[in-house]
């Protein structure tokens, strides 16, 4: 077997760029630094095993049908990269464009759905509005009858959306980055920063010693704000547990991805046969990768109501990741007020889909010190200017 994964590297004394966090985003950043910018004197440091954070825990939904122009642009850029990624990385990523359906259960969800579909199309993104009959045709196991507590009134559908195998994505980026000369150092936790004149960040202190760096990029998902606080930088991030679960393996029943905000569950079926499901974040802040059981219970109640065929399904495994949520549910990408320190975080509950795009734009930032045009709107400064990119979707209807 010719297949080889990434090299195990021991940290050198210094690098041009140090990336903290070997999740999907950190690894993609390293890869594009080497590939797009020829910068290979790069180290990715990871406190655990590579790709073991949210990258290993997410439900792998990929789509680009975001509402606002800025989001649509960056997520669509990512989706286009996804479409060529298996060839680019020469790896089987189990990328499957099986479509993503987002159900509307109330009149306001219908308005918001139509609005998003229309916005998507004008932004060049494939998007469809499905009537309940079309929902039934596309996915007959959804209960579209009026007996549902909140009947299905329609759905947005992005045919090019889908899923991919998260681990394989992380490993492929790691392997190709490693081949290009990037050092990936696992079991190496960043505990502090090396500060230079004027407070400039000039490296990191790790459990495997000091590593100097020309530029440091923090890509640590739910722990980014903890790291930033070590240099006195307070970030507008809340870290919450987000849970997911898989069922026992079943013969195929579901060939698309279905999400429902009102009934609060989303589900797809993995190639192996398990139903992969998630719901909302746990309301409290926390860093233990454990969620609240009642969230799981509600999610399962929702699942069997929406999909009567799940009446005999069983939960096999549940788990949680720590997601980094911004007040406007959009990421933070770019420079910080501290020289030498850069951020790529705040992807919250939905950053897997952005992995290639996130790495692409952040690599440019680390290479040039300036935001990539697609990331310019996602700077930390938006919280002072007020130019938020609110992707919570239309607020719940109220009258």
């Amino acid at each position: 077997m010719a297949e080889r994964y990434w090299r195990a590297a021991a940290p050198k004394a210094s690098y041009e760029v140090v990336i903290v966090g070997a999740g999907g985003h950190g690894l993609a950043t390293a890869y594009y630094l080497a590939r797009n910018h020829g910068i290979t004197d790069v180290c990715v440091v990871e406190k655990g095993w590579l790709g073991g954070g949210n990258m290993a825990r997410n439900t792998t939904i990929i789509r680009s049908n975001y509402l606002w122009d800025e989001s649509a642009a960056i997520y669509e850029h990512a989706l286009r990269l996804w479409e060529g990624l298996e060839a680019e990385l020469d790896a089987d990523l189990q990328f499957s464009q099986r479509g993503v359906m987002n159900l509307a259960h109330g009149l306001q969800e219908v308005r918001a759905g139509v609005r998003r579909v229309e916005a998507n199309r004008l932004n060049g993104i494939d998007a469809e509005w499905l009537t309940p009959e079309q929902v039934h045709e596309r996915c007959p196991i959804i209960d579209t009858s009026p007996r549902l507590r909140y009947p299905v009134l329609g759905a947005t559908f992005q045919p090019r959306g889908g899923v991919a195998r998260h681990d394989k994505v992380a490993w492929a980026y790691a392997t190709r980055a490693s081949e290009l000369g990037v050092d990936i150092v696992e079991h190496c936790e960043v505990r502090g920063f090396v500060r230079g004149p004027g407070g400039r960040v000039e490296g990191v202190e790790t459990t495997r010693g000091r590593i100097l760096a020309g530029r440091v990029g923090l890509v640590a998902a739910g722990h980014t704000s903890v790291l930033a606080s070590l240099v006195g930088l307070r970030l507008p991030l809340q870290s919450h547990p987000l849970q997911a679960l898989v069922s026992v393996l079943y013969e195929p029943v579901l060939d698309t991805v279905v999400m429902s905000n009102a009934i609060h569950v989303y589900v797809s079926q993995a190639d192996k046969g398990e139903l992969v499901m998630g719901a909302g974040i746990d309301a409290y802040n926390g860093y233990a990768q454990r969620g609240s059981f009642h969230v799981i219970e509600h999610q399962l109640a929702a699942a069997v109501e929406l999909f009567p065929i799940f009446a005999h399904a069983k939960v096999l495994r549940t788990w949680a990741g720590i997601v980094d949520v911004c007040p406007d549910a959009s990421p933070i990408i770019g420079p910080t007020p501290i020289d030498g320190l850069f951020l790529n975080c705040g992807w919250g509950t939905g950053g897997f889909k952005a992995t290639p795009g996130s790495g692409w734009v952040f690599a440019e930032t680390l290479a040039t010190g300036r935001p990539h045009p697609l990331a310019a709107a996602f700077g930390l400064d938006r919280f002072t200017s007020g130019a938020l990119i609110d992707e919570h979707g239309a607020a719940a209807v109220a009258h």
Partner: protein, 893 residues
């Protein structure tokens, strides 16, 4: 056909009670007390299922929930798509068939088992009802604790019956303050002693226990480890402990000629038991050649020290066993059973999931708790490594070809697959797991997880135990969705809320809209009317005569205390503290980002008492917000908030004849405009019950909201209907209300706003005070982006053709920009100027109209933009967002 029932043993079955069942469409007989697995073994069934990927025959490996092989679909007495035969209690009429590790979900699901949820508080939860668990439970009960002890199997005590344990279980069963639950698996142990358990009732009724305990004792026992060798997945290769359980508990001899293959002394007694039962033991094959171990010799049985099982022959059942010995010596023996013991691993899934750490134990060649779990958690008995036999670290029999050394029977993954992963550069057990999928099937690697870890450790040249087993995650055993869902099904998925007037609405043909949890009448179509016709009729009635709306769902919060006014000043953008008693004021509430999140009115009931209303869907969130600020930021404010939404029914009567209608209902309140003007309230009686009358209007017409005690709601509503008849009073629903308020340019928060809209965007800059005093969101309104002149503003739209109803959600673009797209994705992004938030036909305007948010909209009145939706562009003229009575003459009349 080599298993059979024997005369010895069988303490767990009742030989006098045969039980009929069906397996793979063949009628069979077992005994009361059997599991499906023991009955199948007794019936001589070797092959239960096939493996999921390679389709290899699969038999029974274990006697418990760690089973990696024998999976069945149960069809009677209830349906279960896939379950381990070792965990199914045999009952009369049971029917099952083998499943290859993958279940089938029927399109028309058979009836489900029922599940109820139970909540308990106890001092001590004991997980595990074996010897150590029962002891721990009794000790805790003796201390005076309330105790809940749970055992995943249907019986108490160890699997091999032990009279002392049974006596203890019998005592606990009748002890006060002890809840002893058999057939109950602890699904998960969570922070602060929260334990969730699933009890599988024999009657098809399940219970999910949510238990809060001061102390949790894990007595979860240990699991025997297999050893990998060529074709070790063949039926007839079983765990030694399981062979013994089948014999002693179920009186089933799993094979006639056995090889015992072991790394430890624990499996030795099995040899004697097999012989007592009439079976033969060919040899005890003990991998240890270093003189370790001190099992008493078993007379007449050859013990091959330093030997190992290399392979087995046979397709659907072991026929012969190949042994490999010191110096590569080989031997072939005829046998139909290999009883394997690779040592014992404490079962620590629950312990690890709550943050407990492991430490390698060289004597056991296993992992034991390192003592790092939470302080309220204790691990006892075999789970803590107590009483387990010392074992040699032996994971697989070395061989040239390792491609048939199966490690995970459910994934058909072998030692060769694990080594290939390491060879390719994976160094973490978690990575290997994720490449091979070992440990991700139904048993979550209960038997394979440790093996994989040690194979990886060895391959990397790392010491024993350098990396631990793959992580098992809750639930401990697969748990049905429906059990965890409990009764939260159907209508109870989310409680349905209805107003005191609901029955009238139903009786009078209302169609309903879900608004939050509420069911609100959307319209009251008459026979032959569609929704649109009904809405237009209802609108016309309000504009020309009078209409009545059930507004009871409005959120209502009483804000009371000396600082109530000051508090409300901070919550709303305008000042509430200056409101005189008897008056009403409209208010907007902002998020910290300065965006509108709710609106409503505040009525001052007394100097220290306000009633504020909220949107129907926002009531709970607004109260939460009040409480959050009061409790966390301003605890010094003397203010109390109480939800009174359901205490008050609200009957809103509006229209030019509203005054006449209320008068006709009978009231002692002077309704004259001069003494009871707009935005004031009065108290009195209406229709002979006490009422608070409020002159507020959401339709733009003269309106009275009658607030009455909830239990008078239906009476007052019916009184209005009766008294209003001569005036043409018409009940109207939310849809007409939406049209009427939109004609008037009144927003609906959450429909016309989406969390990105400031008061000024809505043309409501006047409601934001600028005296510098603080309110939520004030600082954000000063950010440059909130002051941009080209923000999106609320505007009105009128289709240029004066007949097309534009779609709500339509995007607005410059004239012609979306022409020719026909709903396809634009090749180049088209600049969007805004979107349509509300769009209706009007009974009084003579043309459809819409509200929209439009970039720099206030400066665009008179321009034409395209509203794009569903593949069409509809040209619309931009107009001010007030279509009806801009002078407010009707409202204030």
């Amino acid at each position: 056909m080599t298993g059979r029932r024997v005369e010895v043993g069988g303490a767990g079955v009742d030989r006098a009670r045969p039980i009929g069942f069906r397996f793979d469409d063949v009628d069979r007989e077992g005994l009361a007390g059997d599991t499906l697995a023991s009955a199948l073994l007794a019936a001589g069934v070797d092959v239960v299922a096939s493996s999921p990927i390679l389709g290899r025959p699969r038999g029974i490996v274990s006697a418990g929930s760690e089973e990696p092989s024998a999976f069945v679909e149960l069809t009677e007495p209830w349906f279960d798509p896939i379950v381990a035969a070792t965990t199914v209690e045999l009952v009369e009429g049971l029917a099952a068939r083998g499943r290859p590790g993958v279940g089938r979900l029927p399109t028309s699901p058979p009836p489900e088992r029922r599940a109820r949820h139970v909540h308990r508080h106890v001092e001590t939860v004991v997980v595990g009802g074996g010897t150590a668990g029962l002891e721990a439970a009794e000790a805790a009960a003796a201390r005076g604790d309330r105790v809940l002890v749970a055992q995943d199997r249907p019986w108490w005590g160890p699997a091999i019956p032990d009279p002392e344990a049974q006596a203890r279980a019998a005592r606990l069963a009748v002890a006060d303050d002890v809840t002893a639950l058999a057939s109950t698996v602890a699904l998960g142990v969570y922070d602060d002693g929260y334990v969730v358990l699933l009890e599988r009732g024999g009657d098809g009724r399940d219970r999910v226990w949510h238990v809060r305990a001061a102390r949790v004792v894990l007595a979860t026992g240990a699991t025997e480890r297999p050893i990998a060798f060529a074709d070790c997945d063949r039926p007839g290769v079983m765990l030694a402990g399981a062979v013994r359980v089948y014999l002693e508990r179920f009186a089933v001899l799993a094979g006639q000629r056995a090889v015992v293959f072991t790394t430890n002394d624990g499996a030795y007694p099995l040899a004697d038991r097999i012989r007592e039962a009439g079976g033969e033991v060919v040899a005890i094959v003990d991998v240890r050649d270093d003189g370790s171990g001190n099992a008493p010799p078993v007379s007449g049985i050859e013990v091959l020290r330093g030997w190992a099982v290399a392979a087995v022959e046979g397709e659907t059942r072991v026929r012969a066993v190949h042994l490999v010995g010191p110096g590569g010596r080989r031997e072939r023996v005829e046998a139909d059973l290999v009883a394997v013991s690779g040592g014992w691993m404490p079962s620590l899934g629950l312990y690890r999931a709550i943050g407990g750490g492991l430490r390698p134990d060289e004597r056991l060649a296993a992992f034991v708790p390192d003592g790092s779990g939470p302080p309220w958690l204790e691990v006892v008995g075999a789970a803590a490594g107590e009483g387990l036999p010392a074992s040699a670290p032996f994971w697989y029999t070395p061989a040239e070809d390792l491609t048939r050394h199966v490690v995970d029977l459910q994934r058909d993954q072998t030692v060769a697959d694990v080594l290939a992963a390491v060879e390719a550069g994976l160094r973490s057990v978690e990575h290997v797991k994720r490449r091979t999928y070992i440990g991700t099937a139904l048993d979550q690697g209960r038997t394979s997880g440790h093996l994989v870890a040690e194979i990886v450790n060895a391959a990397l040249g790392d010491p024993l135990g350098a990396q631990g087993p793959t992580t098992a995650r809750p639930p401990t055993a697969p748990a049905p969705f429906t059990a965890l869902a409990g009764v939260d099904r159907g209508e109870l998925l989310d409680p349905v809320r209805t107003t005191p007037i609901h029955r009238w609405h139903v009786a009078n043909g209302a169609t309903f809209e879900d608004v939050g949890q509420w069911k609100r009448p959307r319209a009251y179509p008459r026979p032959g009317e569609d929704l649109e016709a009904a809405v237009l009729r209802e609108c016309r009635a309000v504009r020309e005569a009078a209409g009545v709306l059930d507004a009871s769902t409005l959120g209502k919060i009483e804000v009371v205390g000396p600082d109530a006014g000051a508090f409300l000043d901070r919550m709303y953008t305008n000042r509430m503290s200056t409101l005189p008693v008897g008056r009403i004021r409209y208010g907007l509430m902002l998020g910290l980002d300065g965006m509108v999140v709710d609106d409503g009115v505040a009525m001052r009931l007394a100097e220290d008492r306000f009633l504020v209303t909220t949107t129907t869907g926002g009531a709970a969130a607004v109260l939460d917000r009040f409480e959050e600020w009061l409790q966390t930021e301003w605890p010094h404010l003397r203010v109390y908030c109480t939800s009174v939404t359901e205490q008050w029914a609200v009957v809103a009567i509006g229209g030019p004849l509203a005054r006449e209608v209320v008068r006709a209902m009978g009231t002692d309140v002077d309704l004259d405009a001069s003494s009871f003007p707009f935005m004031t309230w009065r108290e009195g009686t209406v229709a002979e019950v006490p009422a608070r009358l409020c002159r507020v209007s959401f339709t733009g017409e003269l309106s009275y909201e009658l607030h009455v005690d909830g239990r008078h709601g239906a009476h007052v509503w019916e009184a209005a209907i009766a008294a209003g008849e001569p005036y043409g009073l018409t009940p109207y629903g939310t849809e007409a209300m939406h049209v009427l308020r939109a004609e008037k340019g009144y927003i609906i928060v959450g429909q016309d706003t989406d969390g990105t809209v400031t008061p000024d965007d809505l043309g409501m800059g006047w409601i934001v005070r600028t005296d510098g005093s603080d309110f939520l969101g004030r600082r954000s309104l000063e950010r440059p982006d909130a002051r941009r002149p080209d923000r999106r503003h609320l505007v009105g739209l009128v289709p240029v053709d004066r007949s097309t109803l534009v779609a709500e959600g339509a995007q607005l673009v410059a004239r012609g920009d979306a022409d020719g797209l026909g709903g396809r994705p634009a090749p180049e992004p088209v600049p969007m100027l805004g979107h349509v938030t509300s769009s209706y036909r009007s009974a009084v305007l003579g043309h459809p109209f819409a509200l929209a948010m439009l970039r720099a909209g206030r400066s665009r009145h008179g321009e034409v933009v395209d509203a794009v939706a569903h593949g069409r562009s509809v040209p619309c003229e931009v107009v001010p967002p007030i279509f009806w009575d801009p002078e407010d003459a009707r409202r204030d009349g």
